[in-house]
Symmetry: C2
Subunit: 374 residues, 2 copies
């Protein structure tokens, strides 16, 4: 054994040669303790969905700052520190996620629904990053595809859920922030969901892949892209379905296709399923609304009530809507439900606490998926 | 458009409502400017392989700290800031990578070899995260598999490169830090490499998957695992080959199998290829050495010179060794080469500047891969 200090310096890796600081620590009573060594700092705070009001850490004699939360409900939480006005990640937590352009630390408080977000010792599906041609967009685009446990060995054909991200997101979002593969693995293992493929598209028509994963290079992700209301994602959606149905062992009829999305992806879901009104038997609209102007010049956005009427007349098995009471799109969702009522399109409506958050979208996924393909 | 400020608060996303700070900025002369807004800070420095001596930022009247490097050679670089003694990521750079337990920002200076590390508009391979059974380890373990462009449509059988990480790494390392899929896509598109599968294993015998990706949960990654010299990764390697050769359309003879690894993975490469002495025609040993004691009680580590002799007598096409002049394992590599000389096993030896770094391992991959399966 000849591991010298040299390797640490060369690799810029911190190993904590001193007494190790543990952070975050999830305590038996489900409180969580954050710690940060910062001898010279004047103030350290923690921000995140685990501390809605923020938390001020206090310093002990060793220069380690500490804050303990109230007992936390089961959830995947995110946070960051602020040291004398500067955002800092927790150097003792190696786990981060990117939400649009922001990197935050994450941790998971188990129990209840959050156990569905854990990697557990159940059979695991396969997760694939693959590129496909979109003739409509004249682009080669990247997809994330979840195939369920047993897919490779089976000769069966499987149903497909198409799952779409919101503004600022990409084909990574449902996996990284939505815990899709964990939720599917766990629901399938528990017999609560049918084995299915989940196809996570990149819903930004002007973008080929997630920031950093395309020839645009390491370009800072932005929230509102100029093509957001071009209708091109919706028009090009047939390219995705054609690719999946030619390349994977899947069932190719309406009863075996579901589509769902959050926020902008909810708009995509509404518009795609109404413009291809005999394609999906299962529709999931998470925290969304018809954002675009009803006088839009984009044909896919025009005459939506008439299109919804056709979709309703064609029949479907499930139209599911979920939104949080505090969502900034709440009023738009009320208006959209009123549109659906006008054409007598029956939907299941789930109203939760909270706002426009991944916390809600993960819950909606866990409720929507068990209703599919039954 | 009704996007209110509410969504920002709910999602903890920073959008920079003020004048945007751009950092890092890669200037036309290949210097790189770092910027950080920190009005109250007393000192801001930048650390990383782009600034070997570190850099001290200076504050302007707006409270924005700035530092510009010397012109940088083409490379994928990493860095972080230190603000009044506290490590901070660059809030204007959404791109990070994890090296063992440390999160750092990254950026790429193009040109030369670094153009191989970029995502370019060439056909892309598919990257799959998949689980397999290892009867030897009695574990279900996770792999990363790169299949080359055209694999899915082709009826051809492909050769396979098995590629192994170092201590502290896992099945994500060669993708995230090694830029394997970008290097393969680019070399294949340029006609410099044969289309091949690259199988990136988890070489920690006691671990099923990368930290955060197994039922161990979000456990802090460690550098030296207790089972490092158990020989179990080497003994169980046949399980990986069996899985790949039964599940993928690959060629199953010695001439179509390559194995390579860095540091601990270089040891795995040496030991596996010598203990299965008629399995691989191409062997790549990056920054490695025979770390274990020659008096080891582990049978796979015993009688290595005799095993290397058998491997040599069986014949092979390429034994390639690369190491940096400043590598802390340099002396061990000299000893290992002397062992090879003793049994008259001919190898290609590449000595580079620098130490035990991903910068070197990416270079070694770009040199090794074009020599395979020719």
């Amino acid at each position: 054994m000849l591991l010298s200090i040299g390797i640490y310096a060369q690799e810029h890796v911190d190993f904590g040669k001193k007494k190790e600081v543990i952070s975050p620590e999830i305590n038996p009573d489900k409180t969580v303790t954050f710690r940060l060594e910062a001898k010279e700092a004047k103030s350290v705070t923690v921000q995140g969905d685990c501390v809605p009001e923020g938390g001020a850490l206090t310093k002990n004699e060793d220069g380690v700052w500490t804050f303990t939360t109230q007992p936390l409900a089961p959830e995947l939480y995110s946070y960051s520190f602020n040291v004398d006005g500067i955002k800092a990640l927790d150097p003792n937590n190696a786990f981060v996620t990117r939400d649009v352009a922001t990197i935050v630390n994450i941790f998971l408080v188990g129990g209840g629904i959050a156990d569905l977000y854990k990697v557990t010792d159940v059979p695991h599906g396969t997760v694939t990053k693959r590129w496909y041609e979109s003739p409509t967009l004249q682009k080669t685009k990247r997809l994330t595809i979840y195939t369920p446990p047993g897919y490779e060995k089976s000769k069966d054909k499987y149903p497909v859920l198409y799952l779409m991200h919101g503004a600022g997101g990409d084909e990574e979002a449902w996996m990284e922030l939505g815990r899709t593969s964990q939720i599917l693995d766990n629901l399938i293992a528990q017999g609560k969901a049918k084995p299915m493929l989940v196809v996570m598209t990149n819903g930004n028509a002007g973008q080929t892949a997630a920031p950093g994963e395309s020839s645009e290079g390491f370009v800072k992700p932005i929230f509102i892209r100029p093509e957001m209301f071009s209708g091109m994602t919706e028009k090009a959606f047939g390219d995705v379905i054609s690719f999946i149905e030619s390349e994977y062992r899947v069932k190719k009829e309406k009863a075996s296709r579901a589509i769902a999305g959050l926020s902008m992806g909810g708009m995509h879901t509404i518009v795609i399923s109404a413009n291809f009104p005999n394609t999906f038997d299962y529709i999931g609209v998470f925290s969304s609304a018809m954002l675009q102007d009803k006088n839009s010049t984009v044909d896919f956005y025009q005459n939506m009530n008439q299109k919804l009427k056709v979709q309703k007349d064609n029949g479907f098995k499930l139209y599911w809507i979920g939104i949080g009471k505090d969502d900034f799109l709440y009023k738009k969702c009320v208006e959209f439900r009123s549109d659906l009522d006008t054409v007598n399109l029956k939907y299941i409506y789930k109203e939760t606490n909270g706002g426009h958050t991944w916390s809600n979208w993960r819950v909606y996924l866990t409720e929507f998926v068990p209703m599919l393909f039954k």
